[in-house]
Amino acid sequence: MTSNSRERLLGLFERMLLVRECELKLAELFSDGEVPGFIHLSVGQEAVAIGVMDALNDSDTIASNHRGHGHAIAKGVDLDSFFLEVMGKEEGICGGRGGSMHVADMSVGMLGANGIVGAGIPLAVGSALAHQVQQNNNIAVAFFGDGALAEGVLHESFNIASLWKLPILFVCENNGWSEFSPTSLQFVAEVRDLGKAFKIPFRQVDGNNITAVADASDEIVSDMRKNGGPRVLECMTKRVHGHYEGDQQKYRDADELASLGDYDPIMLCEGELRKMKAADKDITAIRNRIENRVSAAADVGRAGTLPSFDRLLSDVYTPVQEA
């Protein structure tokens, strides 16, 4: 263990904590009525977003799903713009038109969260196609849950990606649930076997172990940049909050709910850091930094202005450039 690896883990820890604290803050704002609509939190799954994104460049692209806050933050969406968007403000990254399920930031290759389960998968295929045509050595990543495995576009996308050797990484965040139904009642195949059938190299990792996710992603992504072609990464993880904020999760066993804490990727990471002899004060400093950063962003969110309707029509189509 080098201080190098400790520094790296501290960085990953901080970024996971950022996602966590942002989402807990959103939960708070939501229950205060400051977030319209509904939100899906990725609490407990932070290691996936942070671990995978650790391997990417800004020019790589990702397509996300309804549970996309972590992906957006990890890919580098400006925090203020993120809060402003989820809170439905004019200064939001999408001008308040999309909200939680549609956060996107083209400037960092975040092609959008998505309200349609599975829809991000073929979008990412298209993005990978663009990278291949442009020969820019970028890769595209599709993030999707175990529930999305049942959608036909997954199958089509695996096939086309493999057939065309597209630079796409399929990341399945398997948290065992799709809404209120367990995966076992939803999908009979193992992702591993699908990967094999479509001749796409597959890897499964403990999605609550940030080092495991980050290391696997690094290896996979450098391999992709060297050798091209698609890859599948399945991250086994846990959804801690309800499907959407406010969902009481009555459909889950008390035992299962009680055990969730044992899998908390941030806690596990902190344990790891302590084993590595990370200094208390460093960890505390990180906690403080994140807390300040998040509460500042939430304040910015609160202070944002409500979007005015008048400008909307002009964004349905691209305005004609004046010659």
Partner: protein, 324 residues
């Protein structure tokens, strides 16, 4: 039976249909064990068992096409698409299979299935969870499209839809689920294709359907105070739609407005207006005005969605326009 919520009325119609007809089955995402994303199907699994009430994987295309195949093989499936926006994934089963089977097979079979799905905004669900896409289906020969505006109609129309031999898209405005309304056990059975005059009035005919009918009734209350009487027609079904009732009303009022929550352009109102500009032309004393959503996706923000959705004020402005 008194007052029941819209969602509960649907639950009762499903329950009764399952009870009375063993060929009725219900399936969809999270509708069985969890009782439905809006609680509409609660209790059905417990009563009718796993064979007839099933949770499906997230596979809309197959859910709908399987309903078609099941309907061709002796069942009456009632399937749910969780948000109407997701119907984009299931169009083939509806349009190329369900709608055409009877015709293209020369009348050999019917396809007795119902697809229930919520449309509409009002809960800040954003551009992919709020659309009203019913005009698409009204354009497809072979499909019927039913859209109730209140609990009693939801109950009666859903029973009629399930009993109907042909494929019916049954659209539920999600903002209505919690709204209470009168439901009479001994109300006469409702017939698909017959409109209901929700409020008689002599000055302007307002044709509407679904939740927008309630908007029209509110506007009518307001306008009545200044002596303007709207005749509010609740179409109840838009395919087929009750041209005779609309034309008869227009022949009394000579003024027509169509109101719906869907985008105005190329929406359901276009057909009503176009038809009346043909067969009702001689009755018209004023331009036909349509009130609907502007030509844009449904915006998310709390400040935007209410302005996007057509409301009573928009209708009142239109009334003043046709009376000008």
């Amino acid at each position: 039976m008194g007052e029941v919520r819209f969602g509960q009325a649907i639950n009762l119609a499903l329950d009764e249909s399952l009870k009375n007809d063993p060929s009725v089955v219900v399936f969809g995402e999270d509708i069985a064990r969890p009782g439905g994303p809006f609680g509409v199907t609660r209790g059905l699994l417990e009563k009718y068992g796993e064979l007839r009430v099933r949770d499906t994987p997230i596979s809309e295309a197959t859910i709908v096409s399987a309903a078609v195949g099941a309907a061709m093989s002796g069942l009456k499936p009632v399937v749910e698409i969780m948000f109407m926006d997701f119907i984009t994934i299931a169009m083939d089963g509806l349009v190329n299979q369900a709608a055409k089977a009877r015709f293209m097979f020369g009348g050999q079979c019917s396809v007795p299935m119902v697809l229930r799905t919520p449309h509409g905004g009002g809960v800040n669900a954003g551009p992919q969870h709020s659309q009203c896409l019913e005009a698409w289906f009204a354009h497809v020969p072979g499909l019927k499209v039913v859209i109730p505006s209140n609990s009693g109609d939801a109950y009666g129309l859903l029973k009629a839809a399930i009993a109907d031999p042909d494929p019916v898209i049954f659209v539920e405005n999600k903002a209505l689920y919690a709204v209470k309304g009168q439901m009479d056990d001994d109300a006469p059975a409702l017939e698909i294709g017959k409109a209901h005059i929700a409020r008689p009035g002599a000055d302007v005919t307002v044709v509407s359907y679904g939740a927008a009918v309630n908007t029209a009734l509110r506007a009518a209350d307001t306008l009545a105070q200044s002596g303007i009487e709207l005749e509010v027609i609740d179409l109840r079904s838009i395919q087929p739609w009750d041209e005779a009732t609309v034309l008869a009303s227009l022949s009394r009022t000579h003024r027509l407005i169509v109101l719906h929550e869907a985008v105005t352009a190329f929406g359901v109102g276009a057909e009503i207006a176009a038809r009346m500009a043909d067969v009702g032309f001689d009755e018209l004393d004023a331009p036909i005005v349509r009130v609907g959503a502007p030509f844009m996706p449904v915006p998310f923000a709390a400040s935007l969605e209410p302005q996007y959705l057509p409301d009573a004020d928009d209708l009142i402005a239109a009334v003043h326009k046709v009376l000008a």
